[in-house]
């Protein structure tokens, strides 16, 4: 349950039976051939996997290196999130659960959860900060169309972290029939590991796709943006123990690392406990968790997954932070060069080319974690389109 010193399950006793049930069963269930078959089948026929590995010719020319984009934006519901929710809904079914809860910030994970609940005919309750509900109305409507109940989190800062608290409270109150689908590689063990394994399909595909296109399984770098870090975890997974492959993690610097409005946890965070795991998190000296800031709703989580905390601490991954401004420019650039409007989360990863020079023969695989449709209003407002 630990990545070095990070991870664990710092949960109230009320959650112990739930988490323990999951811990004891998740690997066993995941390894059942029947489970694998159903998971793979849905990823193929429903999600649309394999997601393409697309050689971005014009972007590569511009930065004089070889950039491949792993097109998670083409998944059903428009991001990597669904890899995990498909996996977890199958897990929940096998554990005999009939009720699903989830937290969501920008609404992407909420939509991905509501989607798989509709698919399986399961009751679905999504907790979402009251403020996020107001600013992400389209995703709220999407969830409702999919039959989910969206419950406003009215406590604290009324955003993602509070929605997570509410979801955990719901789980405490409903310990028997309910499975909690956490949306990122965070939470108490076994969540970070389970989510990472469901997302690992990303790097599993990259390996054979890159072999097909470049004649080699290993890129020089894998790059992903990090909020909680599930797309990053999946992108890195099969390369973690291959030191030939550089790992780059891109955090949101917001208005600047030292501006007081940032979400660069690897720089600003300290070891602590959030939502049941020990990891790096942004907090006051007194240990109160602080509200992060990023223009990207998917990156403004005050912590990172424990795996990423470990990658940061050990130096296995290079962490970069990208400001709102650089991210927005990079998003616009990809739109104009490649005809792909990326999620603003992804735009952070794309902005590294402005700050880091790669060799002409370097092969870089970047997770294009989601599409930008959800962020269109942000882009419109920012660029005054």
């Amino acid at each position: 349950g630990y990545y070095g010193e990070f991870g664990g399950a710092f949960i109230p006793e009320m959650l112990y039976p739930n988490v323990e049930e999951l811990r004891q069963n998740y690997l066993k269930v995941m390894n059942e051939p029947e489970f694998q078959k159903e998971f793979k089948q849905l990823l193929k026929d429903y999600v649309g996997r394999p997601s393409p590995l697309y050689f971005a010719k014009r972007l590569s020319e511009k930065y004089n290196t070889k950039i491949y984009l792993k097109r998670e934006d083409l998944n059903h519901t428009g991001a990597h999130k669904i890899n995990n929710t498909i996996g977890q809904i199958l897990m929940a079914k096998r554990l005999g659960k009939t009720r699903i809860i989830a937290e969501t910030g920008a609404g992407q994970h909420g939509v991905a959860t509501a989607t798989v609940c509709a698919l399986m005919g399961m009751e679905c309750i999504v907790y979402m900060g009251e403020i996020d509900i107001a600013r992400q109305a389209p995703n709220v409507a999407r969830m409702k169309m999919l039959g989910a109940k969206v419950v406003p989190a009215l406590s604290g800062s009324r955003t993602l972290k509070d929605a997570t608290n509410e979801a955990i409270r719901d789980w405490i109150n409903n310990p028997v029939n309910t499975h909690y689908i956490i949306g990122s590689a965070i939470g108490p063990h076994p969540y970070p590991d389970m989510v990472t394994r469901f997302q690992a399909v990303i790097s599993e595909e990259i390996k054979w796709q890159l072999q097909e296109q470049e004649g080699r399984e290993n890129p020089d770098y894998v790059v992903a943006c990090i909020g909680g870090g599930s797309n990053a975890a999946g992108t890195y997974y099969h390369y973690l123990h291959n030191e030939d492959v550089g790992i780059i993690a891109v955090e949101a610097a917001g208005k600047g690392i030292n501006s007081g409005e940032s979400a660069a946890t690897s720089v600003l965070g300290k070891e602590g406990i959030i939502h049941g795991c020990k990891t790096l998190l942004m907090q006051t000296p007194d240990g109160q968790i602080t509200e992060p800031y990023s223009i990207s709703a998917g990156l403004d989580y005050p912590g990172v997954g424990p795996m990423h905390a470990h990658l940061s601490k050990t130096g296995r991954a290079e962490f970069m932070s990208i400001t709102d401004d650089d991210a927005m420019e990079a998003g616009l650039e990809l739109s104009k060069l490649e005809g792909i409007i990326p999620a603003i989360e992804t735009s952070h990863a794309l902005a590294i080319f402005k700050h880091k020079t790669f060799k002409p023969n370097d092969v870089i695989v970047m997770s294009l974690s989601g599409r930008g449709d959800k962020d269109l209003q942000n882009y419109i407002d920012y660029f005054n389109i």
Binding site: F10, P12, M14, L154, S155, G156, P175, E271, Q283, P285
Partner: protein, 253 residues
């Protein structure tokens, strides 16, 4: 001998009250403690407020948010309590989440508690296993009792393990719930109280969650050594301020 253990040996049912330090006002802490003792309360849980109290319902969370807004910190709480033992004799427990303690330093935190005269800690998100493996020695060094929770879903094996690690009392959560969520007890709860009672544990049990009035207090203490009231007391303070604590205690027993 630790004040908690002494208190548990008294031949009576115990009434313990939780309140959030720094609420309603930053400096209410000491006077609330003194008033509670004056009115015959047996034991007090002083809540160290936390930004993300995930085992708590809205009442306690709101009081925590307010306390933090009032400026409450670990350091300030320790300062407020530094002379508490000059006036207060009943057991005092600090109840809080693990992260603020971790940031203060677990050993420094325990040491400070000992200096002040705190008798125990309740840390909902520090699991018994982690405590047992990593922190038990420190708690013992500073004479602190750590209190663990059990719930209706806790297996017998695990209850026995918790009993073995505990050295004061066991916090028996009345139902699968966050704080302040239910009121009164049904047959399920009574069966559960009975079941635990029949296990003959080493540590006495004190019931928490769902106790808000004389009726639920009486029911809870039928099988257990005592009961803890939290949310109901916070609600009372929100409505009536700190001046009428006597009324609240009278309404319970």
């Amino acid at each position: 001998m630790n004040r908690i253990k002494e208190k548990l040996q008294e031949d009576k049912k115990l009434l313990s009250i939780y309140f959030t330090a720094g609420y309603p006002d930053l400096n209410d802490t000491v006077s609330i403690i003194q008033d509670l003792e004056k009115n015959g309360i047996d034991m007090i849980e002083i809540g160290l407020p936390f930004s993300d109290p995930l085992a708590d319902g809205p009442t306690i969370q709101n009081s925590s948010t307010a306390a933090l807004k009032n400026g409450m910190t670990t350091e300030i709480l320790f300062n407020q309590l530094k002379d508490i033992r000059k006036t207060v004799n009943i057991p005092l427990i600090i109840m809080g989440y693990f992260n603020p303690m971790l940031q203060y330093g677990v050993e420094a935190f325990c040491k400070k508690c000992e200096e002040i005269g705190i008798d125990g800690l309740i840390i909902p998100d520090l699991p018994v296993d982690v405590y047992h493996d990593e922190y038990q020695a420190i708690f013992k060094k500073y004479g602190l009792i750590n209190v663990f929770l059990i719930t209706p879903q806790t297996s017998d094996d695990r209850i026995r393990f918790i009993d073995s690690v505990s050295n004061g009392f066991i916090y028996m959560v009345s139902s699968a719930s966050v704080t302040g969520n239910t009121s009164g007890f049904g047959d399920d709860q009574k069966d559960y109280f009975q079941r635990i009672h029949n296990m003959g544990l080493n540590n006495p049990q004190i019931v928490g969650f769902g106790i808000s009035d004389n009726k639920s207090y009486t029911e809870a203490t039928q099988y257990a050594k005592g009961a803890i009231i939290g949310s109901a007391f916070i609600k009372f303070l929100t409505k009536n301020g700190v001046g009428k604590i006597a009324d609240f205690v009278k309404s319970i027993r």
